[in-house]
Symmetry: C2
Subunit: 251 residues, 2 copies
DNA sequence: AAAATAGTGTCTATGAGACACTATAGT
DNA sequence: ACTATAGTGTCTCATAGACACTATTTT
């Protein structure tokens, strides 16, 4: 971040004293987080059932108001932790949504974030009734974009609050594009993983099969993987080598 | 956009009537636009000299407050037109900046946009004193990212207001990444252009030389170019074919 | 031994870079 | 004719996909 370079100008001090923030339009800013995971060949998102109007009983992303003294990143991290208990996950700003009527209560602009979480890290959350994991039904291929649908465990479509279907669609579009040149697949796996598991994560995100040989070569040539010398256990076939990410980001 | 699906629930109507927006934190939201162009092997940005504190006499991006009834995209388009006269340009949301102290007056979150404008379209603006074009000095290569510096026509560094050096840096990073798979180069050229001009735009954005043969093949194979049958004139060497973009976005 | 997946070696197709060559304008 | 750049043809090299083959575990 660049920093201010004229902080002690007395002229400026006088100006700031006279400045009245109320003279300019002020509106609400929220942060919403699309926390995504992969499991069983599908993308899943963490959602919260709305208890109140508007969109009562619809499903919404965890999120809330940005406080006056916190940055947007801090707000995203705080709100995700407060509403779902998730901490220390890969979190990145996605896009800001600001259609005037997106919230019927008042003008609210939301800065959307997405998080990538290993499925195993979500298992203990699933028991708590407040937050639920739901499968994403993406009707478009590639990076076309557009809203997605939510499917419950029986495969029934569930209603989504506000424009959160657009936010989730944007998150899917973003991670599909990013997967080609940034190793985000690791964020969806435990620290030690097999190449097959990594390939499954990629195939789930991209929603298309990948060539096994080429995928192996590409990953090993990337220099981002490190063989641990350990192997899978109890797998009913030849066990695969376990790898780790050499620059496993602590976040 | 998804739309609301429960608009006439009387219970919800009652709820909305009781809702008081003042009960929640409200802050200022602005939109800032990094309008970029290419010329003479460099990237240029459109800047406005600040007349008032804070950052008096520093250079700032065109921008301003989002009005209550307009979308973010509309605000970006309106503010760019109001402050620079530019209309109908390629405009896309970039990133939202919300460090608590980024504006010393009050808490302001800005949704940054970037615009791509052909150099020729900027020529008539240059005479007006209020807005100025300045060369971008990007100290990092590739998509590393980071703030940039402004250079005036004599090559002297100029001060940048707020965190606008970060916004400009983010814009450069974004268009470098996007150039590989989205044909944004056309936005920086007139409707008819030669392959050499298109290559120069790419080289300027990426800040590295590109292979001529490979570039030609790639562009012609993309299916996005259409030969017009016309040729350059008065060029002092064999004139090149003029091409047009087959899906020239009207925006 | 059978089943299942891990992992290797090799051939081929494709695209990028390099380079030599021809083409066509102005001077 | 000379200069400068446009545009073509071809060779090589790197990488992805395809496929055959071997390796190693559980049952």
């Amino acid at each position: 971040m660049s920093r201010r370079n004229e902080a002690n100008d007395p002229d400026e001090q006088a100006f700031l004293k006279e400045y009245r923030a109320e003279d300019f339009p002020r509106l609400s800013v929220t942060v919403d987080v699309a926390a995504l995971s992969t499991h069983d060949g599908s993308l899943w998102a963490l959602l919260i059932k709305r208890q109140n109007h508007p969109f009562q009983d619809s499903w919404a992303l965890p999120g809330g108001f940005v406080q006056m003294a916190e940055s947007l990143d801090q707000a995203a991290s705080r709100l995700l932790a407060e509403e779902t208990g998730l901490k220390d996950v890969y979190l990145e700003q996605l896009y800001s949504f600001g259609e005037p009527q997106r919230d019927p209560r008042t003008r609210v602009i939301t800065v959307a974030y997405y998080a990538l979480v290993a499925w195993r890290q979500l298992q203990h959350l699933q028991s708590e009734g407040q937050t639920t994991l739901m499968k994403l039904d993406v009707e478009w291929s590639g990076e076309t974009g557009g809203p997605i649908h939510l499917l419950d465990h029986e495969g029934t479509r569930q209603p989504i609050a506000f424009d959160h279907a657009d936010i989730l669609g944007m998150a899917v579009k973003r991670i599909r594009g990013k997967l080609d040149y940034v190793p985000i697949g690791f964020q969806l796996l435990l620290p030690r993983f097999t190449l097959r598991q990594l390939q499954e994560v990629h195939e789930t995100i991209l929603d298309r099969p990948l060539n096994k040989d080429s995928f192996r070569r590409r990953m090993l040539a990337s220099g981002l993987l490190e063989a641990t010398g350990e192997r899978e256990e109890d797998v009913g076939h030849r066990p695969a080598e376990l790898y780790r990410f050499t620059r496993y980001s602590a976040i």
